[in-house]
């Protein structure tokens, strides 16, 4: 039964389209111009790179535009704020305080730089300092250590 069924199914292969239909359909399809995207040459590597660059470039341009707008807005706001402060406000005093704050920040940054000695260098320096020297009770600071650390940080 199964064999007959399979054999019968294979006989369906004898079905073919009409000759006139085949010829007309073929002519119609082959005379159809391909769509715009279909006729574009394939772009592999270079196309992908170009697309990435375009995307990156447009992102950078957008970011730059935003920064320019924000910078402009800040300048405008600063002018507006300083020009419209209440008559009693000491503008010069504010600027001096801002300068002092800036100096404090610089000092803090110098301290950070000082403490930012590479661990290996510090360890090596501390290893080299003799630890059997007598400790001065009045001045417990070990000047050798300070000097060695100072040299290591430079």
């Amino acid at each position: 039964m199964s064999k007959d069924l399979l054999k019968n199914l294979q006989t369906l292969r004898e079905i073919t389209p009409r000759r006139e239909y085949a010829a007309q359909s073929r002519a119609a399809i082959l005379s159809t111009p391909k769509s715009f995207y279909a006729t574009q040459p394939k772009q592999f590597g270079r196309g992908v790179i170009w697309e990435s660059l375009s995307l990156g470039l447009s992102t950078i341009m957008s970011a730059a535009a935003v920064l320019i707008m924000l910078g402009g807005a800040t300048g405008i706001l600063r002018t507006i704020v300083f020009n419209n402060l209440a008559p009693g406000v000491d503008t010069e005093g504010i600027i001096t305080e801002a300068g002092a704050a800036s100096k404090d920040i610089d000092i803090q940054l110098n301290e950070v730089r000082y403490y930012n000695i590479p661990d290996t260098k510090t360890s090596a320096t501390l290893e080299a300092i003799p630890t059997d020297a007598p400790v001065d009770n009045n001045n417990p600071k070990n000047s050798d250590i300070d000097r060695a650390l100072e040299e290591a940080s430079q």
Binding site: M1, S2, L5, L6, N8, L9, Q10, T11, L12, R13, E14, I15, T16, P17, R18, R19, Y21, A22, S25, R26, A28, I29, L30, T32, K34, S35, Y37, A38, T39, Q40, K42
Partner: protein, 183 residues
């Protein structure tokens, strides 16, 4: 598979009309049969087959070999077109529709009434299977397509195709047998 098929596809992708013409000549009977056995009407099968080849020609750039024949790609297009056809035009094919089927073999076999009746009975039985089972039966047992091409055409794994094939042939056998008992 058509000899030197990939070369023809490459030329067709480069816009060579005659290369696509050769592919068309080779695959037309196969795709037409597939569509006809699915929709059971000659005129509609002709329209849908034409649409399938037109779509293939317009989008041939999208075909990527990767070990699958151009035929499997065409079957996939034809399959999608018949699915859309059933969604949009006919939700169900009745037995009456199938009885009116024109299974012409280039017109000459319309006179062969006995063969025509055999085919009608067989097609009617195939139509009672699930959509995917119909696809596998036609591609595997009528067109003798390799499993991997069928898998690609219907979007399933080769293992799944084997299971569907087994189930489909069993169901088809039951349908044919019960039909013969009723006669």
């Amino acid at each position: 598979m058509l000899e030197d098929e990939q070369n023809l596809v490459k030329k067709a992708q480069d816009g060579e009309i005659q290369a696509f013409g050769s592919l068309y000549d080779y695959y037309l009977p196969k795709i037409y049969r597939f569509v006809l056995l699915k929709v059971s009407h000659r005129e509609e099968a002709e329209d849908l087959t034409h649409q399938a080849f037109l779509k293939a020609w317009e989008n041939i750039e999208q075909y990527d070999f990767r070990g699958y024949s151009f035929g499997s790609w065409l079957y996939r297009i034809a399959r999608n077109i018949t699915v859309d056809y059933y969604r949009g035009v006919k939700l169900e094919v009745s037995t009456e529709d199938v009885n009116e089927v024109h299974l012409a073999k280039d017109n000459s076999l319309e006179e062969d009434t006995e063969r025509s009746l055999e085919w009608q009975g067989l097609v009617e039985s195939i139509k009672k299977l699930k959509e995917v089972e119909q696809d596998v039966i036609i591609m595997r047992f009528v067109e003798d397509l390799p499993l991997k091409d069928i898998a690609k055409a219907i979007g399933k794994s080769e293992g799944a195709v084997k299971v569907i094939q087994h189930r489909a042939i069993k169901n088809l056998k039951n349908i044919v047998e019960s039909k013969e008992e009723n006669v």
